[in-house]
Symmetry: D4
Subunit: 249 residues, 8 copies
């Protein structure tokens, strides 16, 4: 609530247009809904342009459905990520039009008033086939948030000509998400080629000294291409959220 | 070199407008300059809108000056970061108009044709006084790259009202850089308030289990505010580069 | 045994009231009971106000029941935590009045003479829905130890207004336990708002660079709110024990 | 500002006792002071019973003195920790009555209205001689915050009789801070003896696999004595803040 | 494409031997094949002497077979590693002549024109029985790439005479791969005995402070025998690739 | 083979008592046996007083039985540790008199000529019930190697009186193995009480910041009781081997 | 105090031979001395055969001298380790007969009644020249505690014949301390050759992935030679204490 | 000593040509020289083609000179690495013809009979200017060991065209050493382009999450270009030793 809105309200109280009780409510009411196990932030759509997204990890199928119902009621739709199989099935049963993405482990029911479409194309690049689940999570999220999405698959740096042959596509993007495990080298090469924002997503692909994604995470944080930013390991969702903020700027 | 430019060139060779030798040069020439200890990437200004930035760490004062001379010759100016005192002094002696920022450890000589100014204001927020050197590095870099810069200082979450009182300023920014050490909590709070891109910079401020910035780095990578991206510990420069890419999109 | 008690005992030996053999026993007897696989510390109830609590991890169902029987025999009841399903079932079968908490993985049989009730309310705050199992472990433990318990659920810092709207409840607590995974930012915000003791519990919720709870653990240890103390990852039990010590001071 | 105070204020606006402009100020004014490099949280004394404490690390002597002046002006005194030698000297020169503790690296100027004295004695126990600087930081902080302080020095577990001989002193404390490096075993033994709250402080004393205090930190987080809580490595200040909150409960 | 080939091509365009369109294709065509989930690098055989090897981890059986079909079509055969059981079975069903190595988790269908045989013998040494799966992966890979392979099994340094008795075999090798878990000491002893290249492979054999192979990895990187190089934990494949490069030099 | 034995052998060759061929064999023969997957060190019994012990982890039941057969053939018996259930069953079926210890995961068939009994009693102390499997592995190993074994169970430092009440037993031991997880504090207390060698075994008991036994491992390496040595996490076998070497000195 | 001694004392109180006050003193007196900054454990010589050793790290020269004076007064001599130069100088000035070892950073003043000499020779083996300071600390400590000491220097495993040529010396030792940095491989080879106890000391020698001694520490904890025990990085003192306990068994 | 040589010797003893004493010496003499602080491995030149190299770290200038004298006496020259300034100066004063490389911290006195020159060119590639000291250490070592050395400087992947423009030089090398800090991405790109062996050297260049070279080390171990091997952080010497072994194969 801005200072201006407070001033107006107080002026209205002073001239009797608004009763003290009403203003009291207005100044102190809760813009959220409380379940037994969750406090849903309904104001988020207003504040950030999209309703709260349901993070499926550590929630039962029942909890996921209950939260989805509350959000769908207010906004007409919802997005859920990191869904276990039973939660996906429960959502599919409850919401007939929900779109399930098995590889990306997401469920999406478009909201009544979908977000406006962003400025340009959001390009999702992967270094290897094993990075695809993370790419799918990013793609579904980006689509739900109102972005045109393009993909470039399996163009890791050990065969650098595969990437260089696709430079025109890279140059046409407004924002680029680069997803890579192992040595995490791809964002450095791409970050050095383009001038648009590059968001790097390390993946837990690999074994041994990959340490569950630590190796590419550190490599990306130390990228020699200035201007690359990084999100958590396997966090395709977060990368898409960040890219969408940029694309709607 | 785009496919179109190659096609044109080949057509010109075919019709004799351009000689094979000339086309050969054009297709294969090196867009960089080789010193004994460095290979300067002159094409970068063309490719990414700003000449290569000099990273002072691990370079002698002589090396820094020599590289600065080559870049200044081509572009009229340069930006250098992470300068040791003797390198700053050497640059100040060699280039009379260079601007030295002692706290941020930068040197900046504006280029002949400065980059265009970005869309909006780039806001730099710090959690504590000890985060200021990183903020200065970010501010000088952002300015050099053509961005309007604003600052919000010492608004860490342990006194949350300090931050909430400045919400209007936060809401007016196009991109926000949040710099914090210790618990790295500030980007989560800000990321939940605004809808523009937020770039988090962990700092090595603190002691003990801060482990040189590891604590805030991990916290920021795990931010519960979706859409926050992260750069390396103390990397004010990288955050500004990324923010400038966004602000010029 | 205090110096005073030793003095009395010796005086009694000197004047013949107590025999040397009896005093010998008194000075050297073992205040515990030895099973094949455990040494039960029966003196703990005397020393710390509550009998030894059974830690279920790494114990078979048979071992858990055998220890529970010995403690129940002396104290009329017991508390057991971290129970695997078979251990819970075995306890439920053996003790008809035991209270099983499935989410918190605890079993509680109230002791004959329950501990006195503490000074104020012990508030348990969680950042997200996935933190609830740890909160339940804390709540059951705190109740068993004689504390009035209140809860505040899913008020993570990415929607800071959810927390600020509940400040009155926070201000009414005598001790606050704050449970959070991911960025572990919530204790810093709460620690900065209130003046009562705040105990932070990191949880293993999250993925990737959360590293099984390392991220929130480090964040909490580096909290910028002075006066926050920390317990082990997922250790709702320990947090409740500490809070109860405070609440009974 | 509580709901009650808002209700009162609005009622006064409604009946004309208070003007809208005045209420506006009251509802929105900034309870802090902004320097170039710091935002001082003057409301903290009101909120938490003691003014903001100055953390000396990463601040210049000039910055420390400037902040100290602002706080002393409002509250008559201040506490500063982690002071470099030049900052201590500068404070001693500027404030004649300030008390410098060289070992603990603190400076303390008692505030005009010192905080009320807490319920009981705050006992500070150290395992070895090398832990004394951290103990001094804790003792000065606790004293400034209004606590009676007692000490028990060099009673590490390798000579357990040194500790057992002092049990009466331990039993007389209201809160105990246990400071130990190396194996961090002391809090487990003390936590098992007493029934009052125990706050453990790991120190960076030691070498090799102590890893700068990581070894005792992990040991303390895994204490087999339930109810021990932990603060950051070498954080005597934080332990005293937490203990004082408990002691004033 | 070398500078010479470009010169020739341009000369041919100039004299009309080659049309601009044909040259355009030649200069810009993609030497790879794109599936939905993979971009196969067919040029690799030309560039590095062997077609792209299929890495089975993180790929479905269907994806593995589809890629194997494309590579077999071009090169007559393929090599696949890290195969889950269902992928091995699917390959065995689809390609009747494929050789499955269960212990090494590989599948190999010899290519039409197998690579030339290398200069000398590639010796694979293991410290213990548990290192055999990694040794098998290395042996199959080395064989597929055209190397004579010998083995020396279970000659760890705790019984140093077992190794010393086999010195003649060691001295006859052209390259040695040493595979060891636990203390990773074997490469240091062998590296000090021989003068040929030694490639060390740490394994995830062991428990506790072996930390999944971290212990032997660090030991090998710090080998006191100069000239030992290291690959990732359990990476028998990579060791064989490197050894084969050396053996074909 | 000692210098003396070489001298004798050569003298015998010189005077014709021994043929050069025979001496050649003696000087160069292999004191081990080679299976496909293992090289059994038969000389170890001679060198170290007990045949090679079979480490079950990473070996198939068939491999374990095959190695056991070879060792039993030469020495009449064997010891095997870390056995999976199927390997235990296979050994029990093949060797009717083998002693299986399920908790300790060992199999022991006494050798024909058992090792001589050591000087004193080997005491095995555990901090908690969950440490028992490691204690069993140690006890079986120590027994097989010819040591009298005593046990002290569940005497962790949180109830220090349980330990102090058993001091006489501690004082009667020749070597003490102390097994503890969590804070790993017990070896420090015991090491400070006794004057005999103390070997500490950290266990992977615990959760969260125990990090699979890292916490007690570091604590034990940093023990404030001088003279405590440490073995790998959960390595009851190694502790018993070391203790037996001491006990037979 | 044993149970027998308590029984005797009580009998004496009962028959009037000893007054209650005297017995009270006997049962409760403090067997240590309290300085401002230290609690000296005078009972240690009785309990463990040698007075408390002064650990110089983190103590001022004044503190070191004061503690040394107290110990020398009771026991006629002392041992101090990890001495900074000023502390060594202060001790040399105060005690004319003290023996300073600069490389090992120790000071030793033989006690009036030196400890009895142990059973056999304590052998100290080093892998490289850089390990010598740790070896000296061990040698001085072992000598002070009553052990015959021998040395074997610079016999790392990269030149295994250097070690094998000295086997007779190894075989003549009663206990062996093996000191090594980098790959930490030497204890495994020696542990496999001899049958006496082997204590491994990792050193912080090396760089990069040696991580301050972590690499050899982990290697030694995972030694494939059963029966090797380990002490902290650079802890020559602790190794000697442990070896002396063994040698006096 | 080979089996054949032993057979010959024994035959000679049998027929009286060689005395038992002489043969005894031959079979047991020490092929090394013992100083107080070092055991010089003179046999290494015979065994591995080059005398022992002096590692300067942790050695005094006097020790370095003494070892150098012994090696120079036998072999006419020596190589020393990681020299502190005083050790370099002492060597320069003692050996007038020694070649000091300040940047690489080496000293080289060519041996009387230099090693034969290897098969091809050893190419040393660096990603940035700050990697040059490691490159110099590698270049001096490689030269001393008999290799033709070429260099490619400052061709990091953020400006990939700098590298691609130099492909012909890369293709002409027999072995390639790639030196890089930060993201360690360069070896992956080069390893994918060439078919010769690639040895990767991570450097400690960088800050923050580079963790002293851990980031590029992990990236290189996880290189997506198969056949890349890795040495320790900053280990230019080891990389050159390995490359020279390959180049002399």
């Amino acid at each position: 609530m801005t200072r201006e809105r407070v001033r107006n309200l107080l002026t209205q109280v002073a001239d009797g247009t608004v009763s003290p009780d009403h203003a009291l409510d207005d100044l102190t009411r809760e813009p959220f809904e409380t379940l037994d196990f969750a406090t849903i932030d309904h104001q988020r759509a207003l504040r950030q342009g999209y309703p709260e997204v349901i993070f499926g990890e550590g929630k039962t199928a029942e909890q996921v459905v209950a939260i989805a119902e509350r959000i769908a009621e207010r906004h007409g739709g919802f997005l859920a990520t990191r869904l276990k199989e039973d939660a996906s099935a429960a959502l599919a049963k409850r919401f007939h039009e929900v779109e399930i993405n098995t590889l990306g482990r997401t469920a999406h029911l478009p909201t009544t008033s979908p977000p406006p479409v962003g400025r340009g194309t959001l390009m999702i690049v992967t270094a290897g086939t094993s990075d695809l689940p993370v790419a799918e999570e990013a793609a579904v999220t980006a689509g739900a948030l109102g972005n045109r999405v393009a993909r470039l698959t399996d163009v890791g740096v050990a065969g650098i000509h595969r990437l260089l042959a696709r430079k025109d596509e890279l140059f046409s993007a407004a924002v680029i998400i680069v997803i890579a495990g192992m040595d995490g080298a791809l964002p450095s090469v791409i970050g050095g080629l383009v001038r648009v924002p590059v968001i790097a997503v390390p993946t837990s692909v690999g074994y041994g000294a990959a340490f569950g994604g630590l190796a590419p995470l550190l490599a990306m944080l130390n990228s020699c291409a200035a201007g690359v930013t990084v999100v958590n390991i396997d966090n395709g969702f977060g990368a898409a959220m960040a890219a969408s903020r940029i694309n709607h700027g």
